[in-house]
Chain length 575, copies 2
């Protein structure tokens, strides 16, 4: 008799597992159970469906060869049975059955299995505030809600939207609302910055500044305390401790948590966060039951700890690994590093590994550099600056993370993907410095921006470079009294430094880069000079020179004003 | 007394060495000697200067902050002495001096050194054919020639150009001539394909087909036998064994060789190819003399052998390493893997590591897969197919190389850079499969195209997949009698298969993917069926199914017709 494999969950990890194991073990009887009528859709595409980039929701359910991934497709093309509209109610591990309810009829059934896969995904967090269940308040959790959201906007029922949550989904939805539909859109984020934990403050500031440029209002460090309705019972307002925001559409994008009730009730081991525990073959505490996707806890390669990684890209990788193991191929999952990329209007932001904040929170002796090099040859017409941050361990020189911000093309992606491989292999700063990035002027610089970040990190780790962080520089600019003995040594062109000298007077010395070697005697020795240029590289050069002539009272502003001018600071002189 | 460091060569490796060592060792006296008047320019930018993308040659000599890298810049900004127009004639290793000729005066001088760096680069090969020295025949070796070429075209003196050599420089120049200037341009390449050794035949064919689409004539397997002049002594014609091509401009881009005469005459060790031998600190056989850039032999990480890698990107990396070592920091060079990327009109081609042909020539038990996945979510409007080839060692599963072809954006770059790190770290197919490429629909697919290539390679290496190479398929299509028992099983949509069925009759069976599971009994068992779809993935699925029902007479055409339709084959049915 053929082996019976039952998979609970029909999006991402579930279908991937089903198709993989069916290819490896064609004689197996493979069944997917899902409570929804729509299955196997690209959930990450929802913001692009709402924005109109993707015109029809069917495109999210289609294959690349234009077939819709419905029950009959899975049966005829894949040989996989799908029971849609069927809710798994309980797992009986002794009898090896799943009790299901057929939602269209209310009838129940017992589905026997030899091996079971739990791919139940996650559900969005619903904040415990008044009005969370009002008409017009949505989570971005499934395709039905997406269709409903788009429908309301298309029918002209929405003019103001508030997005609660400044993570990737919230920002992507805000772009969809603003860019195509022209809604007045506000993002509120409870934490002090957008995309907390994923990126460090300077990158969150660049992102926030760009969102503001594009007309999105952003309030950070400010949670929703209530959602209010008009007399019709429809949402009309989001209230925070600081303000009241009109809204006829509210998106709640405040993170997700595992759907693991079935696993818990079946007595499978779960983590404190409720995520299903698996070994490196993605087997649960019951060897006949595997799990994959948002509902599991997976090992982070950098920390070695179990952690939560609810990402569609990982769900697909994990599904393949479960499929292998079901078929007797002992593939193991090495863990995740945390790569992501996101489009926000005309910008791309991405990261891999740990942010500096996260690395320190995890106990690493971590430091970081910021660079601001061009993505392609500076003489090539389409070149743009792509700020990068490289996070590393000062003791081991191991690379812990890379963050990038740039135009909405694939320039940041290339650097993130390149770093991801190095990080997963335990690589060091030197591996980044020597990483052989492909070069031609239309695509890169002879020494790639990522290599340059490695080189700066090398200088910092070896204590050849004395650095001031962007964060410390901003604090000083906000309040000079925080470091009264500091002043800026601005080595840019006098045309660039003039507004700063005019505004900040004795706090701002302008001595052009090209003149330092013959004019350094005019510089003060009793103050700490923060050397400022556009990218930080000239500043480092000047620091080494000044050191050699006895002026060791300098710190380099990493990344220079190419970074600072992207942060949307309010003290920047008006030109 | 301060240490005297003398560097022979003022482009790429030389200036990089000078600036790095001067930062590390500010007290050192650093001198660059170069016979040219122009130094430290971006030589790889020459085609973009000729095309007009870069309007002024000065931009190739400028820094990113708009200063020209001339003698006074190096002196004032970097503290580095430059002696331009100064030719090094001989190295006296006992006296530790370099004899130089000052080209402007004819005078001679002895330049003493404590440590010497040879960064003399390479010179273009001049083919030993009649007419190679005619007026109008150029190599692309320095900025003066580039200025002269552009000047002739801009003055309307050129209408037809012939490029001898189908490598990167030749192709980039052909694009410059055709795209902006509208010249009638022909490339001839002695080897049977464009970019020989760097890429395999299918990728060379895609490139060639695109060049043809863009109006460039291409003849491969055909060298220049003579260049002829008109009565004025100006070039007018390039003759090959097969044809005569009118030309008022000829570019000779037939590779380069090391400029190592100084090293040879000084008794330093050089390779059979004339490249200077160095250790992993880039020290020559004289410990006081280092060398970097096109003139040296460097270790290839994959083969472990010394080899030639004349690339600007490597020259810059090497310069930094020499700078470190001159300053007492024992940095070592781990070697190169062979990353490159190139724009050709509306396409990008890139590779890292070894091609399949090169890997086999090096003695690896190599095989390769071709895939044709989308660069971003298939529902995202800007998505495009990016053919990738992954070359691996069948015994060790080590990844040996990746090639890619796609639109002229950074999509191919991202995959090449990601693979380069894995290859340099000795990674396997599994590292590629699990490489955590960043994902969002505007930038990638949930399972990235590179991961997919890893997965297909995994299936092939584990002998789960029976594959027919693109090369073998083309041979069969050219002559069915080469495999009389083969036929195509085309599982694409009947609308797509119809022209093929009409043209190839009994050689072409059309059974849609979705129907195979219920119609397989109609398929022949006495012939080998080459399963054809768009990308190869459905074909693999069908192969596994057919195996399970006793039809093991199939081979999958890897990459499917997404690859084949890009090859410019003459047998494609006209629609």
């Amino acid at each position: 008799m053929s082996k019976k494999i039952v998979i609970i969950g029909g999006v991402a990890a579930g279908p991937k597992t089903a198709c993989r194991v069916k290819r490896l073990l064609p004689e197996a009887e493979v069944t997917i159970i899902d409570q929804d009528s729509l299955i196997s859709y690209g959930g990450c595409g929802i913001p692009y469906y709402v924005s109109g980039d993707v015109s029809d929701e069917k495109e999210l359910r289609n294959t690349s060869f234009h077939m819709t991934r419905d029950e009959s497709f899975f049966l005829n093309a894949k040989g996989v049975n799908v029971r849609a509209n069927t809710r798994a109610l309980a797992i009986d591990r002794t009898k090896k059955t799943v009790t299901v309810e057929i939602l269209t009829t209310g009838g129940k059934d017992e589905v026997p299995y030899d091996q079971l896969v739990i791919a139940t995904g996650s559900r969005p967090n619903i904040l415990p505030i008044a009005g969370a269940d009002l008409d017009g308040v949505f989570t971005v959790s499934d395709l039905h809600k997406a269709i409903d959201i788009k429908d309301r906007i298309a029918k002209g029922k929405v003019s103001k939207a508030v997005v609660i949550g400044g993570g990737a989904i919230g920002i992507e939805m805000a772009e969809a609302f603003t860019d195509l539909w022209g809604l007045e859109t506000t993002i509120i984020e409870f934490m002090p910055q957008l995309m907390p934990r994923l990126i460090d403050r300077p990158f969150a500031m660049m992102l926030e500044a760009h969102l503001r440029e594009q007309g999105v209002a952003v309030f950070t460090g400010e949670g929703a305390s209530a959602i209010e309705a008009d007399d019709d019972g429809k949402v009309c307002r989001v209230v925070t401790p600081n303000r009241s925001l009109d809204a006829d559409l509210v998106i709640m994008a405040a993170g997700v948590r595992a759907r693991s009730e079935l696993a818990v009730e079946a007595g499978l081991a779960v983590s404190q966060t409720g995520n299903i525990m698996v070994n490196d073959r993605l087997q649960t505490s019951d060897p006949n039951i595997y799990a994959a996707g948002d509902c599991i806890e997976v090992k982070n390669i950098l920390t070695g700890k179990g952690s939560i990684a609810p990402m569609g890209s990982l769900a697909n990788r994990e599904g393949r690994i479960v499929g292998d193991n079901l078929a007797g191929i002992p593939t193991t999952y090495k863990g995740w590093v945390g790569s992501f990329v996101m489009k926000a209007f005309e910008r791309c932001i991405g990261a891999t590994g740990l942010s500096l904040d996260s690395a320190r929170a995890e106990g690493f002796d971590a430091d970081a550099v910021i660079t601001a090099q061009s993505d392609r040859a500076h003489f090539f017409p389409t070149q743009a600056i792509i700020p990068l941050r490289l996070v590393f361990d000062k003791t081991t020189r191991r690379v812990l993370g890379v963050q990038g911000f740039g135009p909405a093309n694939d320039a940041v992606l290339a650097r993130i993907d390149a770093a991801a491989g190095i990080i997963a292999k335990g690589g060091t700063i030197d591996d980044i410095s020597q990483l052989e990035m492909a070069y031609a002027p239309p695509f890169a610089t002879a020494l790639d921006a990522l290599n340059a970040a490695g080189n700066v990190a090398d200088n910092l780790a070896a204590e050849r470079l004395r650095y001031i962080s962007v964060e410390d520089f901003l604090n000083w600019m906000d309040d000079f009294s925080s470091h009264e003995d500091w002043l800026a040594l601005d080595i840019r062109h006098p045309k660039e430094t003039e507004p700063f000298v005019n505004k900040y007077q004795e706090k701002w010395i302008s001595t052009p880069y090209i003149d330092i070697r013959r004019r350094y005697q005019d510089l003060p020795k009793d103050k700490t000079m923060l050397i400022i240029c556009d990218a930080g590289t000239r500043s480092y050069e000047i620091q080494t020179f000044l050191d050699s002539v006895g002026y060791r009272n300098t710190l380099v502003l990493g990344g220079g004003f190419n970074i600072i001018r992207r942060l949307g600071v309010n003290w920047w002189p008006q030109s």
